[in-house]
């Protein structure tokens, strides 16, 4: 146990790297293994209980089991599939959609195009904007109120406006994704430049580095972690844009598929769509986190 004398924030519930050994306390091997893996064990257990409970609701296991006790009101524990579907139904639907009809791949591609374009636009506009705002003080004064106002507004509220401008179609989808994703990128880029360690800049300046070199060798590298963090947020928000953009009757796309399935009470397909989006989001964020970890190698551990 080492209490940092400078009082660094540390996790309250962490068992430090060392424990003072008192005598020869022996713990049964099983208990020690359990404690080491407690997180995974409890997590998996609870998830499984949840899934089983879910399945049971749809199939009426609990309704049947509790009927002797509760009588007719036990029927409440049987829920129609249109309300909640069930893990097995969803799995079956997923299998169908991915491997039999293969319809979902087309939807993914359709949504993907819009997403990539929208996110790409957000990166191309947002990052330079943020960097410029960080670098040029007057520029930041000018754009800050606009960015703050935009940030405070739920950007989705602009959707009807976008539809007025460009109708429904690829343009609309790209624009709403852009609107949702651009802010985290711009804000983080701005913050990245502004929180560059001034000492580094001082050293470089005193060694005669010009503006461009300063930017390229000091500011940009130290900004990368911020930018990546902003990218992570932008990915998630872009996903919202994918689905929202397809509200107004898109020809295809995961969001549209979800909406149509919902309208037809095909809850299992809805869930498949939801899980697909989640999966894509998780994969993308994981990629960014891997890059972050590679880039973060030089950082002194917090």
């Amino acid at each position: 146990m080492t209490d940092g004398a400078d009082g660094k924030r540390s996790s309250m519930s962490s068992v430090g790297p060392m424990r003072a050994a008192r005598g020869e306390l022996q713990m049964p091997e099983v208990l020690r293994w359990y404690l080491a893996h407690e997180r995974a064990i409890l997590g998996t257990l609870v998830v499984m209980l949840f899934l089983i409970g879910w399945e049971g609701l749809e199939r009426g296991w609990w309704a049947d089991a509790l009927r002797p006790l509760l009588g007719a009101s036990a029927e409440r524990l049987r829920l129609k599939p249109i309300f909640i579907s069930s893990p097995t139904l969803i799995a079956a639907a997923a299998f169908r959609m991915f491997f039999v009809t293969k319809e979902i791949w087309r939807d993914l591609a359709w949504s993907g195009v819009g997403y990539v374009l929208g996110l790409g636009l957000a990166i191309a506009v947002g990052i330079p904007l943020g960097l410029a705002a960080g670098w040029y003080r007057r520029f930041s004064y000018a754009v800050e109120p606009l960015l703050s106002a935009l940030n405070a507004t739920p950007q989705v509220a602009f959707l009807p406006l976008i539809v007025v401008w460009v109708g429904t179609g690829l343009g609309e989808r790209v624009l709403i994704i852009f609107l949702l994703a651009v802010l985290p990128l711009a804000i983080n880029a701005h913050a990245a430049v502004r929180t560059t360690d001034p000492r580094l800049v001082k050293v470089a300046s005193s060694l005669g580095a010009g503006d461009w070199r300063l930017f390229r060798t000091i500011i940009l590298p130290s900004s990368v972690p911020f930018l990546l963090a902003g990218l992570r947020r932008a990915i998630g928000r872009g996903m919202i844009g994918v689905v929202v953009g397809e509200i107004y009757g898109s020809a295809a796309g995961v969001g549209a598929m979800i909406n149509q399935a919902g309208a037809r009470f095909q809850t299992d397909k809805v869930f498949v769509g939801v899980l697909t989006i989640v999966a894509v989001g998780v994969i993308l964020v994981e990629i960014v986190q891997r890059i972050e970890r590679r880039v973060d190698v030089w950082r002194t551990p917090a």
Binding site: G43, V47, P145, F158, L159, L161, V193, R194, T196, T267
Partner: protein, 276 residues
């Protein structure tokens, strides 16, 4: 030659300046910000009014203001406001009431965290919009589906931030408490809780933004009333001025809610050296 914003030295040398110039420099931020806004508004007005860009597409400030004025006399508008406000307050309030105690509990108990963790992470990763069809099946297109969306949106950030606040109770304060033999309850009330307050407010602010988003998304998707519904309707009928006004109302709400939270936070955090 531009120098990065944070490094520009305050010292402008010994040059003499007119008092007007000095006044400007002191309030430069305000001056430039305000004037940019004004320029944008003027440009907008010019473009729309002159017809260079069809006002049907972009409207212009005076038209928007006029639409706003007319709406404020419209009973339906206020009904919409009430509906949206109710959805927000109910959903956000419920999220608050659940997420803060739960966040505290999860922060304190490792086991609880292990059990709830998977659900929180999953819910965090799911864009609520995707769940709307299911929520609608459950709750219809009335007010309750929006309340649920708002609740789901706000509950996660508040929970995560509260939990985070509990877990990062500074070790040195815990040590102080232990050296004075503080009971567990005392540790909670005197060390953990006060230290968590800033985190709770961060979560509340994030949650408020997502709650507002939930109102809009829910109403755009399927609704019979509410401001989002009004905006969607107006968009369909190319009443661009009404659309802009609606967006402005949402913007104002967002700013006001955050400002309110900031004010409340400052009262709780008199002990902080600088305001956030």
């Amino acid at each position: 030659m531009a120098i990065p914003a944070n490094l520009e030295l305050a010292a402008h040398g010994e040059r003499r300046r007119t008092s007007l110039a000095r006044l400007y420099l002191e309030h430069e931020r305000l001056a430039i910000g305000a004037s940019t806004l004004v320029v944008v508004l003027l440009l907008w007005e010019a473009l729309g009014r002159s017809g260079l860009v069809d006002p049907l597409f972009i409207s212009f400030p005076t038209q928007v203001a006029q639409a706003g004025w007319q709406l404020s006399h419209d009973r339906d508008f206020w009904n919409d406001v009430e509906v949206s406000a109710t959805e927000f307050i109910l959903g956000y309030g419920a999220a608050l009431a659940l997420a803060i105690p739960l966040g505290l509990a999860v922060g304190l108990s490792k086991r609880l965290q292990y059990m709830i963790g998977p659900f929180v992470d999953t819910l965090n990763a799911v864009p609520r919009v995707t769940l709307l069809p299911i929520i609608i099946i459950w709750c219809g297109i009335g007010i309750w589906s929006k309340v649920v969306v708002v609740f789901l949106g706000a509950v996660i950030p508040i929970l995560i931030n509260t939990q985070s606040g509990v877990k990062t109770s500074e070790a040195r304060f815990m040590r102080v408490a232990r050296s004075f033999c503080a009971s567990r309850v005392k540790i909670f009330s005197s060390i953990i809780l006060p230290g968590t307050v800033p985190f709770i407010f961060t979560g509340l602010k994030y949650g408020a933004g997502r709650a507002l988003l939930g109102v809009v998304v829910g109403e755009l998707y399927a609704s019979t009333a509410g401001l989002g519904h009004m905006i969607a309707d107006a968009g369909n009928t190319f009443q661009t001025d009404v659309v802009f006004f609606g967006v402005l109302v949402f913007m104002a709400t967002g700013l006001i809610v955050v400002a309110l939270l900031d004010a409340v936070e400052r009262r709780f955090e008199k002990w902080r050296p600088d305001p956030r």
